[in-house]
């Protein structure tokens, strides 16, 4: 009979029973201890060990955002970010590895390569000598940069060498394919990440984008733990900035002004080209423009955009504002008769002209056509001080331009109560007031655009990472003078070219209006007085319906100032602009207002 009756307590010896009970008791105690410890460690977690372990495992990884590009009006890339590599080495690994294996694709076997051979191969690819490479690969540093800024195809070949300890780190590098063309406008980066000048600086937030983040858990063996935390915030790439600049015209203008400055031995020069109908800036050319790929090559003072930052006394170009104000206020008209003595004295202040003359019978057109200070003071004195100030303000003098470049000049326009005896008249011909080239161009743009001033635009729009284009809104426009006044002023400007002294601004086939300006340049060493001249010329074409304004400025050209003419430079830049935009030749009769009263 196979049976196994259970043991009953009654048959056990008391000693055995006691031993069993003690054993059970010990086991239960141990169980309790273990259970308690488990509860404490797992449940209460005193000592924060779970958290500490999680903290050790969690690895945040920054996902870099790609910096946006800067484009010109036609989509030409002015600035973009590309991948480059830094070749880094773990010196401890490389020094201790005498030979390593490399897969030979031709024989499909593993070759055994010595360390020296590897070093020689690397030196050949990098183009440096073997001793230098050996020095950088030997040592006890765990991280040492062997080469920087390596292009991807070279990095590919270096990686295929399989040199132990060698690794390629991807970095982002900003390249500027057009170099110094629009160099100052585009700007450059500091430390490869933050904009330091130009558009790179002012639009840094938009270009930069937002970094992403990835948090995951990593084990002690360096492998990611698949089922643990894995949070991903994707990076948002920066938006592209589209400018209104036309790179070809910009190059042409930069080359033209650089040639002119070299020829005249001037300090600096600028050319500004603007589209009068929209206010879009087509070119902002400055001499000695920096190449953003290597901005250190030019002086610090050359790294900005003088077209908007340099404020100077404009000189005779301001006479256009005086004439416009007088015509708008009904105090004069283009054929108004003036008897102009060789020198004109008013309120104890004497004014003379740049050229000697007897008493002349001139029209208002003739006063501007020959750029006569005396005549201008005569016309301007018909306006009250307040009126002169108001019109200067209306035309944007003393009002900062806001096109998105750093350090744009506001210019200096003192209030009328601060004007002294002489300044109240000199402001009429552009001395005793200072403004930047762009401010002058803006004033002329109102005349070209039937009296409506449009704020100049440099940034056309933004293109988001998804490709959506968002135009930058145009700022408010304002009516500065009436349409009729603007037309009369345009006639005066055109007559200056056809009948007046600015005949070298004429372009075959097109009607052109222009005004020259020669002003004394204040000393820059802090002492009062003047030193040298600023020669400028501003013109618009075609006069049947003006579309473009070009201003050429030359600071402190050497030699006789009255022999200096910006006419040829203006002509070449304006013809290039007219040709590029396929502007039809002018029709209609050019204005030929008489300069003298018969």
């Amino acid at each position: 009979m196979a049976q196994n009756p259970g043991t009953s307590n009654k048959t056990k010896t008391p000693a055995a029973r006691r031993r069993l009970r003690v054993g059970l008791g010990i086991m239960l105690t141990l169980l309790l201890v273990v259970g308690g410890k488990l509860f404490m460690v797992q449940g209460l977690d005193m000592g924060g060990m779970a958290e500490a372990a999680l903290a050790k495992r969690l690895t945040p990884q920054v996902l870099p955002a790609e910096r946006g590009q800067i484009l010109d009006a036609n989509g030409t890339v002015l600035a973009s970010s590309v991948i480059r590599y830094n070749i880094v080495v773990d010196q401890t690994v490389n020094t201790n590895t005498k030979t390593f294996h490399r897969y030979n694709e031709k024989t499909e076997k593993l070759d055994e390569i010595t360390r020296d051979q590897g070093i020689a191969d690397l030196a050949a690819l990098l183009g440096t000598d073997v001793a230098k490479v050996r020095e950088s690969l030997t040592g006890d540093k765990r991280y040492f940069v062997v080469a920087k800024d390596i292009k991807p195809e070279l990095e590919d070949r270096i990686t295929k060498l399989y040199i132990p300890g060698l690794k390629a780190e991807g970095i982002s590098k900003r390249v500027y394919p057009n170099g110094s063309v629009a160099g100052g406008v585009v700007g450059f980066l500091k430390d490869g990440t933050t904009g330091q000048a130009g558009i790179e600086q002012t639009q840094d937030e938009i270009l930069r984008g937002t970094e992403g983040k990835r948090v995951f858990e990593i084990g002690a063996d360096g492998l990611r733990i698949p089922v643990a935390t894995d949070e991903l915030t994707p990076a948002v790439d920066g938006s592209d900035v589209k400018l209104t600049i036309n790179t070809d015209i910009q190059y042409f203008a930069q080359q033209a002004i650089q040639s002119q400055v070299n020829k005249m031995n001037a300090e600096w020069g600028s050319i500004v080209v603007i589209d009068t109908k929209t206010g879009n800036l087509i070119a902002l050319a400055d001499t000695n423009a920096p190449d953003p790929n290597d901005p250190g090559k030019v002086d610090a003072k050359d790294r900005g955009v003088r077209s908007v930052t340099a404020a100077y006394e404009p000189g005779s170009v301001q006479k256009m504002i005086t004439a416009a104000a007088a015509i708008e206020e009904g105090k004069s008209f283009p054929l108004d008769h003036f008897t102009i003595p060789p020198s004109y004295t008013i309120d104890g202040q004497t004014f003379t002209d740049a050229f000697e003359h007897g008493t002349e019978e001139r029209t208002l057109a003739g006063i501007l056509g020959w750029s006569m200070n005396t005549g201008t003071v005569m016309v301007g004195s018909r306006l009250s001080k307040e009126q002169r100030y108001d019109y200067l303000k209306k035309f944007g003098i003393g009002e900062q331009t806001d096109i998105g470049l750093p350090a744009e000049a506001t210019g200096i326009l003192a209030t009328p109560d601060q004007w002294d005896e002489r300044q109240q008249y000199t402001v009429l011909f552009g001395q005793g007031v200072s403004q930047s080239t762009l401010q002058t161009v803006r004033a002329f743009q109102s005349i070209a655009n039937n009296g409506v001033m449009l704020q100049p635009r440099l940034i056309d729009g933004y293109i988001g990472p998804d490709g959506q284009e968002q135009k930058a809104p145009a700022k408010d426009s304002r009516q500065v003078v009436s349409k009729e006044t603007a037309q009369q002023v345009r006639d005066i400007l055109e007559s200056a070219v056809t009948e007046g002294q600015i005949k070298d601004a004429a372009i075959d086939g097109y009607r052109v209006g222009a005004k020259t300006g020669t002003s004394q340049a204040p000393r820059e060493d802090g002492l009062p007085g003047f030193d040298g001249y600023t020669a400028s010329m501003v013109g618009m074409a075609p006069m049947d319906d003006p579309r473009f304004i070009v201003e050429v400025v030359l600071q402190r050209p050497k030699g006789n100032i009255y022999g200096v003419t910006n006419g040829p430079v203006f002509r070449s830049v304006m013809s290039q602009v007219l040709r590029t935009y396929n502007v039809a030749p002018s029709t209609g009769t050019p204005a030929r207002l008489p300069q003298f009263v018969k």
Binding site: Q3, V82, V175, S180, S259, N262, D508
Partner: protein, 223 residues
């Protein structure tokens, strides 16, 4: 005796048997004759092997499923890694080529190349209006050898050509022909200096009228 019997009838055999309590006044009524002893074959125990087999099969199936899942995920992962690497390589190549193209397009480099070809900028241009068939302006021929004016430095983009390559009369692609296929052909092309404008064919030398831009090889279309 079977277990069932052991449960119902307390054992009285053997020295470990319990002592029977004296049944109080209960006489043995019908004392049955003892059945002859014989080996009782115990009832066939429940067969456990199917269960064990089932367990093993289930375990194997589970392991296989996990294995297959892991393999498929890994394969997909390998593919993903390979495709990502391909995308990265193509992206780098694209950037490289784009940069080269942009470098050639840079205005300074174009101007330098034009100067090398002997071109000069035109001065006064005329206009032809196709709508009205009128010619305005007086176009003047460009004057050679005039002062070209300031030369803007080419963009200093690292690693890209910043010296415009010298112009040869050969199509640039021709210069990239591999040397190995036809060794005599290669040595022949290397022997002729690039300056010789006369083409290998038997066309007579073209009068270039003092220019330096070579005449096109193709005289008539389709030839």
């Amino acid at each position: 005796m079977s277990n069932a019997a052991a449960r119902t009838l307390p054992s009285v055999v053997g020295n470990t048997a319990r002592a029977l309590p004296a049944p109080a006044g209960k006489p043995d009524v019908a004392r049955r004759p003892r059945t002859p002893l014989s080996v009782v074959r115990s009832a066939p125990g429940r067969r456990r092997t199917p269960f064990v087999v089932l367990c093993f099969v289930a375990m194997a199936a589970a392991l296989l499923t996990v294995l297959v899942l892991n393999i498929s995920v890994s394969t997909a992962q390998y593919q993903l890694v390979q495709l990502k690497a391909q995308a990265a390589t193509l992206n780098k190549e694209n950037q490289d080529l784009t940069q080269k193209k942009q470098n050639f397009e840079a205005p300074q480099n174009l101007a330098a190349k034009a100067t090398e070809l002997g071109m000069v900028p035109s001065t006064v241009k005329g206009q032809i209006d196709l709508n009205t068939m009128t010619v305005t302006g007086k176009a003047t021929p460009a004057v050679k050898g005039e002062n070209p004016g300031a030369v803007l430095a080419p963009p200093a983009v690292g690693g890209v050509l910043d010296v415009v390559p010298s112009v040869t009369t050969k199509d640039p692609l021709e210069n990239l022909k591999p040397v190995t296929p036809a060794a005599p052909e290669a040595s022949a092309t290397q022997a002729t200096p690039p300056a010789a404008p006369a083409s290998p064919a038997a066309t007579p030398p073209v009068d270039l009228h003092g220019g330096s831009v070579p005449a096109p090889q193709q005289k008539t279309p389709g030839q």
